[in-house]
């Protein structure tokens, strides 16, 4: 495996006349986490879709885990998607209400048969890993809080030992105190498993807690990118500064109209 997990060069994505991503280039080394920051409409979720092969690539090259996503055929994409995982945003709609947690996790391990009994140990182990109890696998999603559900969604994303994980706004639907717990969990799992991850959020403070590098997206373009320490200490682009100041806890924050 090459040292570089993700290599994107000159990526353009268009939906009809809308130019959603323009000339996006970045590289992510294995074992590192990149934070992608931007507002609604900045193209950050589209970038995630490109990486899992569900968005049309107008031009440019996208290589993830040695696979050329732009030219991969259906069969290649199918095996590729078993090695990458996306953890979705909303813990309330990402778990099927009529399936037990065990069934949901079993489906991640074996999408075709999805037998809980064949994987009980592994499922229980992962439930404990994300701070729940192994015997909760027979419960339904509505028996859990939002934070607990997001832990389950994280377990589902990681249970097949993916090479690359995309977390799309996974804390933005949660209360701040629960958000802090989830970020702590992610940081801990990341350190122990050496995960390569893309962490998407509109909140710079949240991104800072888990990322090694940051990409700032504005209207489909990368306006700034680099190591976390540099971006937060010395932002070069006005938009990055504006994002930083919008954080209610930052020194530059004021409500002076």
């Amino acid at each position: 495996m090459s040292a570089s997990m993700v290599r994107v060069e000159g990526l353009d994505v268009r939906y009809g006349s809308a130019h959603v991503l323009r000339d996006v280039s970045f590289e992510l080394a294995a074992g590192r986490t990149v934070g992608v920051v931007g507002e609604s409409g900045s193209g950050k979720s589209t970038l995630a879709k490109v990486l899992v092969g569900t968005a049309p690539i107008a031009s440019g090259s996208v290589e993830v885990d040695g696979v050329d996503v732009a030219s991969a055929d259906r069969a290649a994409l199918r095996t590729y998607r078993r090695r990458i995982q996306m953890i979705p945003q909303d813990p309330f709609s990402s778990l099927s209400p009529r399936r037990t947690i065990g069934q949901t996790l079993a489906e991640a391990i074996d999408p075709v048969r999805a037998r809980v009994t064949e994987h009980e140990e592994r499922i229980g182990g992962w439930l404990e890993r994300v701070g729940l109890q192994a015997d909760m696998l027979h419960r339904y999603p509505h028996e859990f809080s939002g934070g607990q559900r997001q832990r389950i969604a994280i377990a589902r994303g990681l249970i097949i030992d993916p090479h690359f994980v995309i977390a799309d706004e996974i804390t933005s639907a949660l209360d701040v105190s629960v958000q802090a717990q989830i970020l702590e969990l992610l940081a801990e799992i990341k350190a122990s498993l050496g995960l390569t991850m893309m962490f998407i959020s509109h909140n710079l403070a949240v991104v800072q807690r888990v990322s090694d590098e940051v990409i700032v997206l504005f209207q489909g373009e990368v306006v700034e990118s680099g190591p976390v320490e540099r971006i937060y200490a010395d932002p070069q682009h006005w938009y990055t500064r504006r994002l930083l100041e919008a954080d209610p806890g930052s020194a530059g924050f004021s409500l002076a109209g």
Binding site: T54, P88, A246
Partner: protein
């Protein structure tokens, strides 16, 4: 786990089944029909088919519903015919449900191009009246029981397909289905595991209604001679036979007519009962707001709002959601209530706004807004003048089908009796005050033409248009991006300072609350655990309750100071 499990339990999952009278009565009726359909052909077929009795009898003790032209007992014939009729309707419904549901679900799991063709095909098919299609199919297939069942089944497929396609559309776009697709779950397994179980309730209701329809349609086809052929008979043929004698012996059509009505009614009752059972609101009681006596905990002569001893309980379970919460807000003040989901902060605000949810009962010692007692009867107009709301999600708070000018001037026009032109004028001034671009044009725009931040500005303009004494803002920035959040908070602060309107601001984010509010209440499990009067110097050292410390530590803060010279970018 410190997660607030209890509050979200009720949301979104399978609910406990709520039995109701319609469902019980309908099921009992269906049970009676089922027993008759099984027993009658075994015990009464002799009476029903044996020729040789007196023909064309009226009602008599041995033949309560008379006899037909061949002297056969009509009661026995009606009861025996129930088996054939109900079976035909059930099989036809089953076939059309199976085919229609399969089609409706498959359309949403198919690739986009096939889906478009499938959806158009469904729309095309439903545009033909069911009965017309059934008659045409039956005419092609010829007479007979099997032919009629197939005709009715075919005619009803389109209806099933359209309704299940609508249900499946929502489920197919859910995150759990898209995640399953990404994981490589085969389409037919997605249908069986995820789509079908999650549309079970509405589908059952639909099937009950369709059965009732099929019953009538099959009888209709038999009535016009396409269905059961002599010597076989069902309720439709019995009706047809009786019709020729209706003038001389009307009692003979009574049996099949009543049987049809009874069975159809049973199916509809079951359908209605299922619908009511599936609706979580159908069994809740009305919200109640009562005064209780007691020593006042709040003494504040200058207050705009005095809330003393607010307690809220769940009407059915009796669980306490808010426990003796007291506070006051002065003119021009911004009071924040902070806490996580389930802390009772939004329920508290809903009591103040007299918008308590169904099934909850609230009490307070005193609830007074600028001289108006909110515990007594308050004229709608007074309420509309004194209080206004801004909600969390401007996307769902606005009606997508109405232009902003109309829906945002509702209170002005309806409660405060302004003319349409006058109301638009006031709203326009509001739009300008919240710095909406192109304020005149916005009046005629629909919600989808505005961004989330713009919508929230428009909502605030509308709320402030009545010059309220109190503005209740429940998580007004939670659904917004950080930069937009800052703009909306800035706007709220400015309007508060300019107009002197007091603000009750609800949020889970202590960082946001700290930036905007003069005083803060920290709520946990329905109680106020800490009152922070000096927000400016808020820190781990100044707060005392462990929960407040925990909230403060959890608040995400960028940890590197930013150059302070880039302050004014937003304005």
């Amino acid at each position: 786990m410190a997660d607030p499990t209890t509050a979200v339990r009720a949301a979104g999952g399978p609910r406990t089944f709520a039995w109701n009278p319609a469902l019980v009565v309908g099921l009992v009726m269906l049970g009676v029909i089922a027993i008759v359909a099984i027993v009658a052909p075994l015990t009464m077929s002799g009476q029903a088919t044996g020729i040789g009795g007196t023909p064309n009898l009226g009602s008599a003790p041995e033949h309560p519903l008379g006899t037909d032209t061949l002297g056969r007992d009509m009661l026995a014939r009606t009861l025996v015919a129930s088996q054939a009729t109900v079976l035909m309707a059930a099989i036809a419904t089953g076939l059309s449900a199976a085919a229609g549901i399969a089609f409706g679900v498959a359309v949403w799991l198919a690739p986009r191009r096939i889906r478009e063709i499938g959806l158009r095909a469904i729309e095309f098919a439903v545009s033909y009246p069911t009965m017309l299609v059934a008659i045409i199919v039956a005419a092609i297939l010829g007479q007979g029981v099997v032919q009629v069942v197939i005709a009715i089944a075919v005619a009803n497929i389109a209806g099933f397909a359209r309704l299940t396609a609508n249900l499946a559309a929502k489920i197919a776009s859910s995150e759990y289905v898209s995640t399953a697709r990404l994981m490589g779950v085969p389409a037919h397994r997605i249908a069986l595991r995820h789509v079908l179980p999650n549309m079970a309730e509405p589908t059952l209701i639909l099937i009950a209604g369709a059965f009732s329809g099929a019953l009538v349609e099959i009888s209709g086809l038999s009535f016009i001679g396409l269905g059961a052929q002599t010597p076989a008979f069902d309720w439709g043929t019995l009706l047809n036979d009786g019709l020729s004698k209706i003038a001389v012996n009307p009692v003979v059509i009574l049996g099949p007519a009543v049987a049809l009505t009874f069975t159809s009614l049973a199916a509809l009752l079951v359908g209605d009962g299922l619908a009511a059972a599936a609706n979580p609101r159908s069994n809740t009681t009305r919200a109640r707001l009562e005064r209780i006596e007691g020593e006042p905990a709040v003494q504040d002569a200058d207050a705009v709002l005095v809330a003393d001893g607010i307690t809220v309980r769940h009407g059915v379970t009796g669980r306490t959601l808010v426990d003796d919460v007291s506070f006051s807000i002065r003119r021009g003040e911004v009071l924040g209530i902070v806490g996580e989901s389930g802390s009772g902060k939004s329920v508290t605000a809903s009591v103040v706004g007299r918008l308590l949810g169904e099934g909850l009962s609230a009490s307070a010692r005193r609830l007074q807004l600028g001289g108006t007692d909110l515990l007594g009867r308050v004229p709608e107009r007074t309420l509309a003048e004194k209080m206004a709301f801004v909600y969390q999600d401007p996307g769902t708070a606005l009606n997508p089908a109405l232009i902003l000018g109309i829906q945002l001037s509702d209170v002005l026009r309806i409660r405060l009796r302004h003319s349409r032109r006058g109301a638009f004028g006031i709203l326009l001034a509001g739009f300008r005050a919240v710095k909406l671009t192109d304020p005149e044009g916005r009046l005629r725009q629909y919600p989808h033409q505005l961004s989330g931040g713009m919508k929230q500005r428009a909502m605030i303009a509308s709320a402030m248009s009545v010059k309220p004494e109190l503005l209740i803002a429940d998580e007004p920035t939670t659904a917004l991006d950080v930069t937009v959040q800052r703009e909306v908070l800035t706007l709220l602060k400015r309007l508060n300072e300019e107009s002197g309107t007091a603000v009750l601001f609800i949020s889970h984010d202590l960082g946001v609350v700290r930036a905007l509010c003069d005083r803060v209440l920290v709520m946990k499990d329905g109680r106020i655990v800490e009152r922070i009067d000096d927000v400016r110097s808020l820190s781990q050292e100044t707060v005392t309750h462990p929960y407040t410390k925990q909230l403060l530590a959890a608040t995400p803060v960028v940890s590197v100071p930013v150059a302070a010279d880039q302050d004014e970018v937003t304005a």
